[in-house]
Amino acid sequence: MIMQSPFPFALKIMPVPPEAWIVRWLWLIPAAPIVASGVIALLKQAQKKLASGLAIGSLTFSLLLSLIAFGHILSSRAIIFGFQKAFNVEFPDTTIRSIVSFTWFQFGHSTVDLGWVLDPLAAIMLVMVSFVGLLIFIYSVGYMAQDENFTRFFCFMSLFAGAMLGVVISNSLLLLFMCWEIVGLTSYLLIGFWYQKPSAAAAAKKAFVTTRVGDVFFLLGIVWLFSQTGTLLFYNHGVGSLEGLALVHLLSQHAGLGLSAAGAIGLLIFAGAVGKSGQLPLHVWLPDAMEGPTPVSALIHAATMVAAGVFLVARVYPLMAAGAPLMPIGAALHGTTAALTVVTWVGASTAVFAALIAVAQNDIKRILAYSTISQLGYMMAGLGLGGVAVGMFHLITHAFFKALLFLGAGSVIHGCHEEQDIRRMGGLRADMPLTFGTYAIGMLALCGFPLVFSGFWSKDSILEAAKHWDISKGPFYLLVFGALLTAFYMTRQVCYVFFGHWRGHETAHESPRVMTLPLAILAFFAIALGVIGTPAWPWFRAFLENRTAAFDLHGFAEPGLGLLMLTSSLVVFLGLGLGWSLYGDKSPKPEAPDALEKSAPWLWAPLRDRFYVDELYGVTVIAFYAWWARVTDWFDRRIWGGIVAAVTWLFGLWAQLNRLLDVHWVDGGFDKTCEELSSGGGLLSRVEGGRVQNYLRILAAAVVALVAILLWSSRP
């Protein structure tokens, strides 16, 4: 329980063994970049070194603290599991979770609490966000070096990093929502960073408005949750909104459509995640968001912010999975509910839908954007199918290789003098060897090239979960098809960009060291991260689910697993082969139709035009609003205006009548009446004579009269 303390900010600290100073100081992780952002905002545009130094320094500080927090979790694990092993006992609940909460303010009897939490989920996200963020910050120093708004850029980026870290550590849905909205705001600001370009400004607005649609549902979910459970803390020693008591209460409420209140609230919150993570049908803003600078695309619209939606679903997973009958899937127990089914289907269809569109795009960043949407769909599907660990593993690996791809794309764009059309590139393999090498690694990781790359393992665990899903096999086939498409469009892109011969203007050049170094580091992790999630050593899943993981090659021997791995490998090779056969080393003219367009124009057109979703929204939602605006305008003019006109006319009539009477009386020669009238008018005019004291006098007299009436009438 939260203790009432005389000092409003005095915290009631709940330490976990062994010592928890990192938990108490966890708020410093988001605070450092936010403070840095505030300081940068005060700097002059010319102070570039100081601005970037502050941003990078603060994020390094956050990274160090995040690593300490991660280490804290690891050591807690070691202690708990060591104890279990040494004394051969089983703890019923080995959850490693430390929270700090405090009361923000109080309304009557209900309090609004905020706080932060450190658990494996938050720890791994903290490390990922601050690490990837740091690399991208370093990269941006090179990428944005020539921009005149350099300091503004780092101000926004720092604010973003801080808010994102805040999302990760919040233990309160309200705090999370606040950070979530700041994240949305910075996304808006950064997409429209080059606001002189009308397209950038429009894209920023589009992103903001589209994500707001999701956030409205999110807010509804928050309000509903608060009204049902009276708390917005996730975990609070058994009385938080994601813990036993609250869940039982929520499950007992029925919300219609076969959903419990828990599921319905979960779905509302999921709607927020749909907006943020660009899931169907709110995906339209993400491709347009590529109008922002490339580091922004890498950090916000690939690695972290869009993943925040996935993270949110993972965070409120207990809410969505509440009341599920448990059944074994793979190695872990896992259940499914109506809410999770929705998540799964949305994810799987988004995965295929976006992958299809990506096949026919020509903008290097747009392809990656659709690929991001598609991969986010995988994550969502993974969450719905296999639980937190499956989805989160893909999130982490994806963050690294997608950031790598985006930074690589930025490097390519930079090297080709701000050219983004892949048809006007080509042959960069020789001009930009470092970029090519790292890009190829990222591309293979994204495709899920077998055994070596991290993407293979994370995608594989999603496919495995899909295969074991007993409600429908639909998602499995969709996801496998998506994997094929992924390999295909990435091959197409790489062939266009790096193979063939140079088709652009001027000559391409390799990017500076400050940009290629982050690429190399990210490439390393794009490969290495796979190690922690192989079936032989499922450490990541164990980490998130608080179990021990042992290295055991028998993990591969699970029935069906070998076949699955073979299938997915074959699919990847098929995609790669198809792509190479269509596009490999051909270097077509920029104006020439695409290879696929030539063979299947009926397929190409809808893909190129993004399945007409934007146009659909244009003729439905936007047209509806335009129509509605016209209707209200008409109402304003005709109905309300008409009423006003009628009233005016009536008063005019009344005035005419008065005038007639007046004229009549004056003409009649009633001088005395006339005098009285004018003196009466004078009397009335004195009421509005601009004399303050008169007003006051009348006011006081009226009060006297009213009070007298009141007292008189209430006499016994």
Binding site: G689, G690, R691, V692, Q693, L696, R697, A700
Partner: protein, 106 residues
């Protein structure tokens, strides 16, 4: 006088002070004096609040006290704005006489 309870005494003093303040606001010509009258009225209200707090059933709830404290703060703001207005009007019309200030325009 027949007043037996202390509360009634304080309330009557407050009522009288309020009436004095009101009279001041009503009968004087000078705008500043009107503001002074209003301050007196506010103070009378404060006295009421404190008296009710002191003799009310739940003094530990501090409601009346809090009202008085907030009212003091608000009165300070009111005085600042009011006097600023008076000075501003004085710059326009060169007078603070309310009887001469009867044009509803600058």
């Amino acid at each position: 006088m027949g007043v037996t309870t202390p509360l009634a005494g304080y309330l009557l003093v407050a009522a009288l002070l309020f009436a004095i303040g009101l009279a001041g606001a009503l009968v004087r010509r000078n705008a500043i004096l009107v503001l002074i009258g209003i301050e007196l009225m506010l103070n009378a209200a404060n006295l009421n609040l404190i008296a009710f707090w002191r003799f009310g059933p739940h003094p530990e709830a501090l409601t009346g006290m809090m009202f008085a404290i907030f009212s003091i703060a608000v009165a300070a703001a009111e005085a600042a704005v009011g006097l600023g207005l008076v000075i501003s009007i004085y710059r326009h019309t060169n007078t603070t006489d309310l009887d001469k200030m009867n044009r509803m325009k600058g």
